[in-house]
């Protein structure tokens, strides 16, 4: 059987071009060209939003990446789950998708691509997204994903900004997909890898739906820039800092063991390089915990900021919907010298 991961040095969201490389370039791009544009890239948000009417806005996003698992069916599932995630993170519902495919011809001929598509379509169907079309090119390294469009009420958009001092931060899915997909390449921790695939194919749909019944101040999904990167973007946009507790972070089984034994993807080091200046670690936070904090997540969970009094009830409701590892991971506080503090 074809081993898909052998085609790509880095897989999943770990193949993102790091924030330390992109940051400067993005600043040179124009923003808010139109009054109807409600959310653009200036706040490092997950998707763009353009207003259509007083009750309807379009949310648009695009996501694609190289293989991070060997099985094409699961690669397709993970890619699709990850592609629609940004819409949920903005408070919207995904409606349509366009496929982005770059694939080696021999793999297409061997039926690998059709397996990828089968997995992806199962996900799109389960969240009510219509596949309208796509574009494919020949490439040496397989790449697969979607541009997704969704609907959101213009007044109910969840952004990075809006977190308030005193809020609690809730993370809906466990961390460690970067470590465990690295472990998978070496055939290590198979149970952990299985759980990682399970979490990467868990839609952020139910998390978002539960969120709509609570007072959400800010929301983002945790992906390639790691928990630290996405928490920092939220804090920066909200002009706050946050204090997280390492021991409270939900983690995949064997993620910590994997980090301890050095199954750390290159993007973790990249994230640390880019974010090290904005993150404070207490001396008690071990190197392995720090690596998990910078671990690039593929199809990671939603990070919510909401009033402290609603925190526990929110986590309970998430658990009822099957997000068993949803946890309160920290608090929002006054802006300090660092954006994120980890204890």
């Amino acid at each position: 059987m074809v081993k898909l991961t052998e085609f790509a040095a880095k897989g999943g969201c770990a193949c993102k071009i790091g924030p330390h490389i992109l940051g400067e370039l993005l600043q040179t791009l124009p923003s808010k060209q139109k009054a109807e544009v409600l959310v653009d890239m200036s706040g490092s948000d997950d998707a763009g939003v353009i207003k259509i009417s007083d009750t309807l806005a379009l949310v648009q996003t695009v996501d694609f990446f190289t293989p991070l698992v060997d099985d094409p069916y699961w690669y397709g599932k993970i890619a699709a789950t990850n592609s629609v995630s940004d819409i949920y993170a903005m408070g919207g519902d995904p409606k349509t998708a366009l496929n982005i495919v770059a694939f080696p011809i021999p793999l297409v001929e061997q039926g690998v691509l059709s397996e990828v598509l089968r997995g992806a379509n199962e996900v799109l169907e389960s969240c009510g997204v219509a596949l309208l079309g796509g574009h494919s090119i020949e490439d040496e390294v397989p790449k697969f994903g979607f541009a997704v469009t969704g609907y959101v009420h213009p007044e109910k958009i969840w952004e990075n900004k809006g977190a308030l001092e005193g809020d609690v931060l809730v993370l809906t899915k466990p961390l460690g997909t970067g470590v465990l997909t690295t472990a998978a390449k070496g055939g290590l921790f198979p149970e952990g890898v299985e759980l990682a695939i399970q979490t990467m194919t868990t839609l952020n749909k139910s998390g978002a739906e539960v969120g709509r019944t609570f007072t959400i101040h800010a929301c983002t999904d945790v992906t390639g820039f790691s928990l630290m990167g996405h928490a920092r973007e939220m804090m920066k946009a909200s002009h706050c800092s946050c204090a997280l507790e390492a021991k409270a972070l939900p983690m995949l089984l064997y993620a910590l063991e994997g980090a301890e034994m050095g199954l750390v993807p290159a993007a973790t080091y990249g994230n640390r390089k880019a974010l090290g200046e904005s993150v404070f670690f207490d001396a008690g936070v071990s190197a392995a915990y720090q690596d998990i904090c910078f671990d690039p997540q593929t199809s990671g969970g939603l990070l919510f900021s909401l009033p402290a009094r609603e925190g526990e009830a929110f986590v309970e409701s998430l658990k009822e919907k099957g997000l068993y590892q949803a946890s309160i991971i920290g608090r929002v506080m006054t802006k300090g010298a660092y954006d994120v503090y980890v204890y």
Binding site: G166, G186, G262, P265, Y269, M333
Partner: protein, 262 residues
């Protein structure tokens, strides 16, 4: 972080080392190869060669979790990672002279320190290998953490009337304002505030305490008023802040948690 790859090290590597050449491979392959070498050659010096920093850091992490003592050398883009099992150092079979030759360049582990002190060499105390970060200023700290809030929020305060203490009711009413304000500013907030009998008037529309109660709630304090009491005072439909609770919950708070009755 890197030591000088002196001839002593090179000799030790050539004489006793099992060489794992992982150059040209990416993570996790160097770790996996090193792991296999550890398993096949217990209590031996393993030397892994890699050609990128990520692999160097990962192999080093792995060796340390396995209890090896690591020395790393960089030459251009290539890294030579020498990993000594502790047994080997204890057995004193290797590197006679190496530790003496370059004591200040050694990774400072306990065993090396022990060995060094046996030989009368002073080795500087360990430098952290982890992230190099600035110390935060003192004013960065006064905020509640998750564990802090969970732990300190063990207290349940039960208020039985809308004034504080016995004696003058007028004084007591003023004291309640001060009390609630001080409570809302307290470093360790209670978990719950339960209002019983006359105290439920504080969540009614005419209450002077609504603002401070709301701010307590905002800070995560659960505010609950006794339902029967609200009924009695005709306030059940006009509760301005907090939830309605029952005697069962109140009894549970008294028996199972650290409750303070005022």
């Amino acid at each position: 972080m890197m030591s000088m790859f002196t001839n002593e090290w090179k000799n030790a590597m050539e004489r006793d080392g099992i060489i794992v050449d992982a150059r040209g491979t990416l993570c996790p392959t160097p770790v996996i190869k090193t792991k296999k070498a550890f398993e096949d050659n217990p209590e031996q010096l393993i030397v892994t060669l890699v050609d990128n920093e990520v692999s160097q850091q990962n192999v080093e992490k792995f060796a340390k979790t396995k209890g090896y003592i690591v020395e790393c050398f960089q030459e251009g883009l290539d890294y030579t990672i020498m990993m000594f099992p502790k047994e080997m150092l204890k057995a004193d079979t290797l590197l006679e002279g190496v530790f003496e030759a370059k004591p200040n360049e050694l990774r400072r582990t306990e065993i090396i320190e022990d060995r060094a002190s046996e030989k009368g060499i002073t080795v500087k105390a360990g430098a952290p290998v982890a992230l190099d970060i600035k110390t935060p200023l003192l004013e960065d700290f006064p905020f509640p953490l998750v564990s802090n809030t969970e732990a300190s929020r063990s207290k349940v305060i039960i208020l039985t009337k809308d004034w504080i203490g016995n004696g003058s009711e007028e004084l007591g009413r003023n004291l309640m304002k001060t009390f609630l304000f001080s409570l809302s500013e307290a470093e360790q907030l209670p978990k719950k505030l339960i209002l019983l009998n006359g105290a439920v008037r504080m969540v009614g529309p005419a209450s002077p305490h609504l603002e401070v109660l709301a701010s307590l709630q905002e800070k995560g304090v659960i505010l609950e008023s006794c339902g029967i009491c609200l009924d009695y005072y005709g306030l059940k439909e006009v509760v301005q802040v907090g939830n309605i609770t029952n005697m069962f919950v109140i009894v549970e708070a008294l028996t199972k948690e650290a409750a303070v009755v005022l």
